[in-house]
């Protein structure tokens, strides 16, 4: 019954110790007119009924066999060990590791995660994770703020939800944001150059960008630094295992969404946001950070450190109110990165790139489905559509294929290592049918 072990007998014994007669007497302090008579809710369910009810709800959702949609949530292969390790009850039910002496397992796991994210992005330091990519973007832009620099420039090719999150956070901290326009789907560097001045705190660039395209990340960094602004890059963690790192592009802060690192699509969450930075920015990083130290006998030990940045100490002087991290998801990411290793991650990235280019070359030859942009891309690309995208997607849906995402000027397709050649060929054949029926 609601997981309460005590019986009426035990309750009676405890009431006697407390010196009251009824459970109601515990709430005499609550004004009578406020007390709830009863809640207008269904009766409690047994475990069997809960299972039936939720299974019925889950059955109303379509799980596609073949997925070609990304736009911030990607289907990747999740090694079995990731699930088995991260579903251990101890890891799942543990609290935040404030008592270091009995929490070395959690603390070490986070320290390992921080190391892996630093290695992946090339940066000096990482925090223990935040909620997701878009909120990490917002926190990162907040980090760039300085006394006379209150405005940031954000590429219009960043994920729309990241742009929205930055805007919403800025409604709070009253910083300003302006979007950098695009040229053929990538950030217009000339426009960026003309928008920069000494009041700009930071420049935000997503690479690969929302449309899958590779950006001139080197130029953006140089331009930002030329006026003393900070350079914030958002990257895809699978791509970065093969591609030039934010560090190599001169980024001051690197963020992104770690969902591709072992997390299922999950109807949008929980995912994990990673934030890494240079040593110079370390004390501006929000959120929890684990550090290495020694104990009273000189043995290596891990602790939550630099806590004086955080809300529980700084209160209204904290730069962010963030209290928790997505610890278990950070562990998922760590187990994934360990199971894959540097070779496995590079393979995943290479498969994504090869398969996306295979798919793009086949699809773009179909009349009406030409590529929308000229630039190179990682694992997503936009094609034109010969007719109403709905028609295309409905036909694909009938074949149990989740097609790309309809965007303003076409369809945004994503291809990962999970898409076999057969799946891609089937997709191409369906699109050929669509193309014929549209003409």
């Amino acid at each position: 019954m609601s997981y309460i072990p005590n019986t009426d007998l035990e309750r009676k014994q405890m009431l006697d110790v407390v010196g009251i007669k009824h459970l109601d007497d515990l709430f005499t302090v609550v004004p009578q007119n406020l007390k709830v008579e009863c809640l207008d809710l269904p009766e409690p369910m047994s475990e069997l009924e809960v299972s039936k009810t939720l299974r019925a709800m889950a059955a109303k959702n379509k799980v596609y066999a073949s997925i070609f949609r990304g736009a911030g949530a990607y289907q990747h292969y999740i090694p079995s060990i990731v699930k088995s390790v991260t579903s251990k009850e101890t890891f799942v039910s543990a609290y935040t590791p404030y008592q270091a002496e009995i929490s070395q397992g959690v603390l070490q796991s986070i320290f390992e995660y921080q190391t892996m994210i630093s290695e992946l992005t090339g940066m000096d330091a990482s925090n223990a994770s935040v909620y997701d990519g878009p909120s990490a973007a917002a926190e990162a832009m907040n980090m760039t703020r300085e006394r006379n620099r209150n405005k940031v420039l954000v590429s219009a090719a960043a994920h729309p939800m990241a742009i929205e999150s930055i805007a919403t956070y800025f409604f709070g901290n009253e910083m300003e944001m302006e979007l950098i326009p695009l040229k053929d789907g990538v950030t217009d560097m000339d426009a960026l150059a003309s928008m920069l001045n000494n009041n700009i705190a930071g420049v935000y660039l997503q690479h690969p960008n929302y449309f899958g395209l590779l950006e001139d990340a080197q130029k953006a960094g140089e331009l930002a630094h030329s006026v003393g602004a900070k350079y914030v890059m958002s990257v895809n963690p699978i791509a970065t295992s093969l591609m030039k790192t934010p560090r190599e592009y001169g980024a001051d802060v690197a963020v992104g969404d770690g969902q591709p690192l072992g997390m299922p699509l999950s109807f949008g969450g929980p995912y994990v946001g990673f934030m890494a930075c240079t040593n110079a920015m370390l004390r501006k990083l929000p959120g929890r950070i684990v550090g290495e130290t020694v104990d009273a006998e000189g043995s290596r030990a891990f602790v939550l450190t630099l806590q004086a940045r955080e809300q529980h100490i700084r209160r209204e002087k904290a730069s962010s109110n963030i209290c928790s991290n997505h610890a278990l998801m950070a562990m998922v990411a760590s187990v994934y990165m360990s199971a894959m290793g540097p070779h496995g991650m590079a393979e995943a990235a290479q498969l994504c790139y090869s398969k996306a280019h295979y798919a793009a070359s086949k699809i773009s030859k179909i009349p009406g489905f030409e590529l929308q942009h000229k630039g190179d891309f990682f694992h997503e690309f936009v094609t034109k559509v010969p007719c109403d995208p709905r028609k295309v997607l409905d036909l694909l849906d009938k074949k149990d294929i989740l097609g790309g995402l309809p965007v303003e000027n076409g369809i945004l397709w994503a291809v990962t290592e999970m898409n076999s050649k057969d799946q891609i060929d089937t997709l191409v054949n369906v699109l050929k049918e669509v193309s014929r029926s549209c003409n």
Binding site: R283, Q307, A308, I313, K317
Partner: protein, 128 residues
Amino acid sequence: MNVPQNLHYTKSHEWILFLDDTTARIGITDFAQHELGDLVFVNLPQVGDKVEIDQVFADVESVKAVSDIYGPVTGEISAVNEELSDSPQLLNTQPYDAWFIEVKNISDKMKFLNAAEYQQFCEEDEGH
């Protein structure tokens, strides 16, 4: 508790050393560092910033707390002790050498305590 005779003091435990009539160095006292415990980080202002009486111009962090440091004078910050950024422990070991800022063009000062008055103030503070 160490209370050098040649310095001025405030009730918020800052010490002031006048270099001349309108220039001074400011730090925190031995009593303060003892109360604060092991200090791990100092957030310093920048050269050129203004400091004002009773306004926070810096803060110090211990593992579990942050403490504000208040301006005892009004003026312009002409130097900042960068050594404190790398070695905040100097505040614990040598509080009267580990100055925070140098201020020039001092236009206003609080009413200071001298060494004896400050010592007495601390003793009363402890007792309460």
